[in-house]
Symmetry: C2
């Protein structure tokens, strides 16, 4: 199993489809016997290339997405309540993720799952350093996180990840790669599963 | 069965995802015991509202779509060759569809399937009145089709259908409705099937 390529799970923290995918992606990896790599990034870099404005800022798409998210949440029986300020920039949450990852990838993943849950059920402010540091405190002292959030190192790291995403063709969230094969969107998890099961086609 | 709402299949003739959906949608309807209504429309009206430019005219999305279409075609074992001039405006094909539908919905559907097949395997010019009339001649005399293609009645009808689509929230192709419930995209056919089977949730 260790020679199989990992599943890369690229996502924007305040993307609802990424939230739903985050609830399934670990099962997908486990079933396939693959390592899972979580890769939060900032979608803005991709939107500059595609000219997209994000679902919630696009007429027609916004109304469909709101309806669709509730429909998915009902089906999956998961809590879902869009924050009034949605979409909130997840810049602090994303920087904190990479700070945590340097210490422990497992801690970073546990943090990421909490960010998704609290943003999409209780309106966590993913821009707010204090709120993000408080959430990360289970894993690292708040002062450490706060220092990371304003350091050039993590600003640069998040920018690099986001540019890497665009260079590899990513323009939406969630996005999965397996050995370079791209899968865009929550609704492609079944295809990803089939790809992994069959070895591709 | 006759009291169940039909499946409305809205599509843009030169949308590759609509082509793939057209190959499955009749099975979906049959399994569900539902009538199927084919509704070609012009996507431009929706793009004016959303600001989208179409997959093939959007950086990053274009490259992903090209890769994805080939991947779907391989999986479904269907012929697929994008015309060099893709995306071609399907205005003549769309008007001809509605001319045929007035005579016989079955003939219009048979014509629609031929348009998809010939556009996506042999580069049918869906803008060209002569090519479209020749294709429709199995069902109606070429002179009848040619007259319809330049008549105000069918121009208006296609415009009305396209405006109706936008008013009902349609911004992409393919798009399915069942009793008002919207499903966008080829990759939502499994959800549509589940919705029909379970009665919704």
């Amino acid at each position: 199993m260790s020679t199989k390529a990992p599943i890369e799970f690229w996502f924007y923290f305040t993307s609802a489809y990424a939230y739903f995918a985050s609830l399934e992606i670990e099962d997908v990896a486990r079933e396939a016997g693959r390592e899972l790599v979580w890769r939060p990034f900032m979608l803005g870099s991709a939107f500059e290339v595609t000219g997209a404005r994000g679902l919630s800022n696009t007429p027609l798409k916004r109304e469909y997405a709101l309806h669709d998210w509730d429909r998915i949440a009902r089906k999956r029986k998961v809590a879902f309540e869009l924050p009034p300020a949605h979409p909130v920039l997840p810049i602090a949450a994303t920087r904190a993720f990479y700070r945590l990852e340097e210490e422990s990838p497992d801690a970073a993943v546990a943090f990421a799952k909490r960010v998704f849950e609290l943003y999409f059920t209780q309106g966590l402010d993913t821009r707010d350093p204090q709120a993000v540091a408080a959430l990360a405190e289970t894993f690292l002292p708040g002062a450490d996180i706060l220092a990371a959030l304003s350091s050039d190192h993590y600003k640069r790291l998040v920018r690099q990840r986001s540019e890497e995403a665009v260079q590899r063709g990513v323009f939406g969230s969630p996005w999965m790669f397996v050995a370079g094969e791209p899968f865009w969107g929550w609704d492609r998890l079944p295809m990803l599963r089939e790809w992994l099961k069959s070895g591709g086609w």
